[in-house]
Structure formats: C-alpha cells, structure tokens
Symmetry: none
Subunit: 121 residues, 2 copies
C-alpha cells in the first residue's frame, strides 16, 4: 500500500544515491547532500515514482500539496536547483529527465550520450 510513512525500511537506492526520507537525508556516493525542504521533497517524490513519468500536477500535489495553478513555475525552478546539486555531487550522471508534455522521469543514466549518427543520408 502506501510506502509513505514507514520510517524504518524506507531507504531508497537510486544509482549512487541513498535517500532516507524519514531522516531527511540524501547521500551521494557516501557524502551527504545539503538540500532544502522543497528540493528534498521533490527528490523523494521523483525517486518513489520508480522509472515511470511523473506529471507536473502530481509532483506539485505531492510536494507542495494542492493543485498546480496555471503559470506557477516553482516546479521548474526546483527541478533546476535539484539538477544543479545532483550534478555537482555526481557529475557523470543525469537523474532527472524531461519528457516534454508529460512530466519528469527519475533514473540514473550516464551523462555522456553517444549519439549514433543514424547513418546520415
């Protein structure tokens, strides 16, 4: 059922990240990250969504509580802040992936994308 309030075996491991929601703690490669409340909530919400895409409305509802009003860009701003902190902690990995028109997906992927040139025609 709801995995929300179990304080003991609640730890999430995503790539080199260890997230302890009940402790308000995130370890990146063993080192603690310094996140604000919003940043932390966002990270937990994303990590708990597994490899699925989370819609911005759902993210907002879960972290801020309440419906996302049109024109509210708080999510964008905090996605950005989170990305910056994750990147400076683990420069070789990207965690937050944008799916335009759908939402965000959380999954550890190596930052260098070798783009296969698709046989230029």
């Amino acid at each position: 059922m709801e995995a929300a309030e179990r304080a003991y075996d609640d730890v999430l491991y995503v790539g080199a990240l260890e997230i302890r929601p009940s402790d308000g703690l995130v370890l990146a490669g063993g080192r603690a990250l310094n996140l604000s409340v919003r940043e932390f909530g966002l990270l937990v919400a994303l990590a708990r969504s597994g490899d699925g895409i989370v819609r911005r409305e759902d993210l907002y509802a879960r972290v801020w509580g309440g419906p996302l009003r049109g024109g509210d860009r708080s999510i964008d701003v905090y996605i950005h802040k989170l990305r910056v902190k994750l990147e400076e902690a683990l420069p070789d990995w990207r965690f937050i992936h944008t799916h335009v028109g759908f939402g965000y997906r959380f999954s550890p992927e190596p930052s260098h994308t070798f783009h296969i040139p698709a046989t230029g025609r």
Copy 2:
C-alpha cells in the same frame, strides 16, 4: 495510488517495445524513448489496434480527435517521425507498415538490413 506499481493491466508489449499509455512512457529494449505527445498518441493508437490495418481517418480521429480534412498531412509527418525514433532505438525491426490506399499496420518484423552478398538469386 502508487505510481510505481500501477497500471499493469494497461501495458502493451509489442516485440521489444513496452508501452505504458497511462504513464506516457515507452521502453524500447528497456530504454526510455523520448516521444512527443503526438508521437506517443500515434504509437498507442497503432499498438492498440493489434496487427490489423488502421485507416488514416480512424488514426486521425483517435489521436487528433475530429475528422481528417483533405490535404492534411500531419499523419504522414508523424508516422515518419515515429519510424525514425523506433528505428534508431531498434534498428533491426520495422513496426509500422504502409498499406497503400488502406492505412497502416503495426507489427514487429525483422528488417533484412544486414548486407546480403550478391550470391542469392
């Protein structure tokens, strides 16, 4: 409702594709595809049609909503975009087959792109 474990009754498996309509997510060989809203809608509509032929009017009605006006080439353009993305994800398979005058058929078929030495025939 837990997003991570949800909607397994809604997932479509077609060849190496895993399509989750309710998540807005497509996995090709385990890797997430980056599709636009239209591309995704088209793929879902095709995949839901099984291996039958879907008429362009029906495709348009299902994805765009409303009747297909004469001269509208949006479907062609997006079929093409989808093909490109599917091909670069799974180069050895072809999914979208044209039946001229009838419509499109969605079915995973191996592409015989491995270069055949001219011995045959």
